[in-house]
Symmetry: D2
């Protein structure tokens, strides 16, 4: 099963139309990715950035927003690895409203490239990360 | 020529990798869209929402992030109408770093559907908006 | 003991000086307040707003920022009721870095007035809330 | 006259009670401060941080929120220097709703200390900045 974490829609995520401001969904993706690193790979994202000197700028993203969310909703957000390239990783995200698992709320992906945090020099996906992601991919096919 | 507005990267848009946090680009798209309504269509976006009772939830978005941006950068952001459907509008966005017009920084689009702000009932693109957008599309082919 | 909830500093809370952007601390106060309602008063803040028709605009705030926080830090945030007036409530907040309980990171308060969410008409603190807060104040003197 | 800059309330600044989320006012203070540096002191805030190696963490803030703001409002925000200490600067902010100059919307202050951006070592207010702020204080008593 894919990694899943719960995110609460907070008071300030709501826009003046009364629903979650759509750029916040990309923020939710990032929050879920931070949890993925901590839980699935056993390393805090802050340590990835500053100890491993590894950052993941996004170069492409796509997203379908299927249902609107309101304040009080909770999202069960799945994170998976869609593709593991030489220097890039494609991450997939699926969000379900808690208590309403039948219907997807949001589904998206982003392509990140691996760079050194301090210089932004592009590098290969490091071996420690590649192995961790492969293990995770086998566990949630 | 397409509508263009300038957006300053602000201090808090920067993430812990030292570049613009990628969900902020979608926020920049929205800021530019708000300016597009005020300047090109002559109506404040707040009035569209609350006087015209018209909102534009996003149902799909795509984005290529070509160059990173840092604090101090300014973006010249173009907004255009890519497709005008029965109930949906597809908006296009291209961002250039001010002072470096040769190279695009970010390029994206989102599909919005027209709904009533108070009920979120889907409606046709209203005639006043359709005419305004058609005029703008003829001016920036 | 005062109500306490944990908040993680997230990747995008960091500003271009490398520390938590100070307005985010006020956001942390609000996140903690939302948890306070859910846990201590047994009502979701979204229901307070929309079912109880009760909102809490802030009219005054004060805050001391004692230690800087970085990405990866977690804050144990205490919420308490400092004063319960006729129409106003003064909330207190104290934040400690998790794993470093000796030293306070942030300490602040805000004064909120009770209004109807739909009209913003000022009202007395409703009896259900007054009783709940009094119980909580007795429990954490 | 004090330095003044205009800030537009944007779509996403609004919270689920329909007014500007109060932590956003502190963000407006910072936006106005960034403009103050560019306009009054002739240096981009990004250059202060990274070329001058000077940052201004906030250690105390106070704020009165007098009137609520809604989407569509514009704020004329004044920035002034209230006190210039050895290592600290106290900044003052007053916000007025554009078109309604009689009544103040928000008034606040924050105390910042001067530190080196790269090490966060506390330093004296540098002479170039002290002179610039003194000139500005004489011009807007």
């Amino acid at each position: 099963m894919a990694f899943r974490t719960q995110i609460k829609v907070c008071f300030s995520d709501i826009d003046n139309a009364g629903i979650v401001y759509y750029p916040r969904f990309l923020h939710y993706f990032h929050l879920a990715l931070e949890e993925f690193f901590a839980t699935e790979l056993g390393i805090d994202f802050a340590d990835v950035l500053h100890t491993k000197n590894l950052a993941f700028p996004t170069v492409h993203l796509e997203c379908d927003l299927v249902r609107k969310l309101r304040y009080g909703d909770r999202i069960n957000m799945e994170v998976s690895v869609i593709h593991l390239g030489q220097t890039s990783i494609t991450w997939g995200y699926k969000g379900y409203r808690a208590g309403d698992e039948g219907g997807i709320v949001v589904e998206g992906s982003n392509v990140t490239v691996c760079v050194k945090t301090d210089t932004f020099e592009k590098i290969d996906v490091p071996e420690w990360l590649r192995q961790g992601l492969k293990t995770q991919m086998r566990a949630s096919p």
